[in-house]
């Protein structure tokens, strides 16, 4: 069932492959690497599908280099859907790039908030303060959300900080923890098990289950981390709890 788009033109997107996932979803691959250009294409194409407003399309999930489209198989058969997907015109990825929102995320690095900061520092041959400086030196792209509600996969982490996951995941990672794994960094929105190296913690909630805008980030947004002191962490935490209880 793999369909190769052999002759892409200006009007059709550069689809590498269409892969049916069972009888109710299709994955469209755009490449096989983690690359901002490919991810921009993914997000612009996902937005294009959303714009079509087709009935019977239940979820559109952009990821690093592919989109998974969940559909109602009572309304769509797989051929009709893949044919329609190929008619969606291409959007200039550069146009899309400017649409992401920039978020400044304050982070209390090290100590109890970032129990692995020292390990990351010795692994990379840096002082903890240099790790913080390097981690905050990059404006990260939200490549995708997944794992838990609101968890952003941010990249690319400076090569020097790329450290493998913990050999055994922690059973409980506190919400707001900022971690890194290989060339990725991310933020745990809710308490879950987790194997990423934890270097800090943000008081900003990424998922508010009862909020009118439950998710802080969307694919294609940009994240800039800012180091803060314990005092500011406490102050912002109190402010966030207050906001959560506002009607």
């Amino acid at each position: 069932m793999t369909t190769d788009a052999e002759h892409p033109t200006e009007e059709t997107p550069v689809l590498r492959r269409l892969i049916p996932l069972g009888d109710s979803a299709v994955t469209v691959e755009f490449g096989d690497t983690i690359d901002p250009e490919i991810n921009a294409l993914v997000i612009s194409y996902a937005n294009r599908i959303v714009e079509q407003g087709w009935s019977g399309i239940v979820d559109i999930v952009p990821t690093y280099r592919s989109i998974t489209i969940h559909y109602d198989p009572v309304q769509w058969d797989v051929t009709a859907l893949t044919d329609r997907l190929l008619t969606i015109p291409r959007l200039n990825p550069h146009e899309e790039k400017s649409q992401g929102t920039l978020h400044e995320i304050p982070v209390l690095y090290g100590g109890d908030s970032g129990p692995d900061l020292e390990d990351v520092a010795s692994f990379s041959g840096l002082e903890p303060s240099e790790v913080v400086a390097l981690h905050t030196s990059v404006r990260y792209r939200v490549y995708m959300l997944g794992f838990t509600p609101g968890f952003p996969y941010l990249g690319l982490l400076p090569e020097k900080l790329a450290m493998p996951r913990l050999p055994t995941p922690r059973p409980r990672v506190p919400p707001g923890s900022v971690g890194l794994a290989d060339r990725q960094t991310g933020i745990y929105p809710i308490e879950t098990p987790g194997g990423w190296r934890l270097i800090g913690r943000t008081p900003i909630p990424l998922y508010r289950r009862n909020g009118s805008t439950p998710f802080l980030l969307k694919p294609g947004d940009l994240v800039q981390f800012r180091p803060i002191e314990p005092g500011e962490f406490e102050r912002l935490s109190r402010q966030m709890i207050h906001e959560d209880h506002r009607p």
Binding site: D23, D59, I60, T63, M144, G146, K218
Partner: protein
């Protein structure tokens, strides 16, 4: 037209009882799992039997059912697994619309077949819609009753329902549409069209072996124990969207069957996906139960689903969400 609401006390919560509907859609791009009833067929039938729209919230009771005390008259249907339900001490039939009188006590006993039983009441269970759904997703404490399973002492509220519903009492799902739950099932699968992630032997192993559901299995997924499915391991699989029914294969080659609470994205390559009409059979497997997989085409899988859909509509017509008589 008078409208009634039922109140129900939770005397005992059971092993894992949650409020579910058909799932939360439109937010998977934010990492929000769809959740929803594991056995969608049983949930839909329970709703139709009591005159509810398919999307109404039901109780999903796992392994050991709850004990519920009805403060008001209500319509009720129990579907899915047979956990030996009794009303005021007498056995009650599954897949049938029944009335419960005020003071009625619903209890469950021995597990006869299946794992997950569904209870619908006329008007549905009334909890707030969260992101368009009443389904409980426990890991993120979203939806249902404060995002958690039932506890003793909870009070469940039914939604409003009309007074003309008594005509539904005694209605049942025709025998020919009853699911064939079993402790060892054959599930039809669609093999993944990508071949680069597995040795060709993996595909034949998958369709020529019996896999057992491991104890570490829950609403997110079932770990399956059986002959390993050898991966090529040439390069790293980049996380992509997942589907319910997918068989993901970690490096050790032991497949994981993804279920309703699956994460929206996954970093293990899928080798195949269980077809939609067979997911309810898988949803009724417990630890130690077994599954064999046989290959099926997408066209065939979609035709089977449409046929089931039409047969069910003919037997128990769907109820429009805004039906005036409700």
């Amino acid at each position: 037209m008078t409208r009634k609401r039922a109140e129900i006390d939770v005397a005992k919560p059971g092993w894992l009882t949650t409020i579910q509907d058909l799932g939360r859609y439109g937010y998977q791009r934010y990492g929000m799992p769809s959740a929803g009833a594991m056995d969608r067929f049983a949930a839909v039938v329970a709703n139709r039997l009591v005159g509810n729209p398919d999307q109404a919230a039901v109780l999903e009771c796992t392994l050991k059912g709850p004990e519920l005390l009805f403060r008001d008259d209500a319509l009720m249907a129990v579907t899915g697994a047979d956990l030996s339900p009794t009303l005021n001490g007498s056995d009650i039939p599954l897949w049938t619309c029944l009335t419960v009188r005020r003071g009625g006590r619903l209890r469950f006993g021995t597990r006869r077949i299946g794992v997950r039983c569904y209870l619908a009441i006329g008007g549905g269970f009334d909890v707030p819609l969260v992101l368009g759904s009443r389904s409980t997703h426990c890991p993120s404490r979203t939806g249902g009753l404060d995002g958690r399973p039932l506890r003793a002492g909870d009070l469940l509220l039914g939604g409003p329902f009309g007074s003309d519903v008594e005509r539904l009492v005694g209605r049942r799902l025709p025998d020919r549409l009853l699911p064939r739950y079993d402790r060892s099932i054959v599930a039809r699968i669609i093999l993944d069209s990508r071949r680069e992630w597995f040795h060709s032997a993996a595909f034949t192993t998958l369709t020529n072996s019996v896999y057992m559901v491991a104890p570490q299995s829950d609403r997110m997924g079932y770990r399956l124990i059986g002959p390993p499915l050898p991966r090529t391991g040439a390069h790293r699989f980049i996380s992509e969207g997942t589907v319910t029914g997918a068989l993901q294969v970690p490096a050790d080659g032991q497949p994981i069957l993804l279920m309703a609470d699956r994460q929206t994205t996954g970093g293990y390559p899928p080798i195949a996906t269980v077809i939609s009409v067979d997911v309810p059979l898988a949803a009724q497997l417990g630890p130690g139960d077994t599954v064999r997989f046989v290959s099926c085409s997408i066209v065939e899988a979609q035709a089977l689903l449409r046929t089931r859909h039409h047969l069910l509509d003919a037997a128990l017509p769907p109820v429009a969400i805004n039906r005036p008589s409700l």
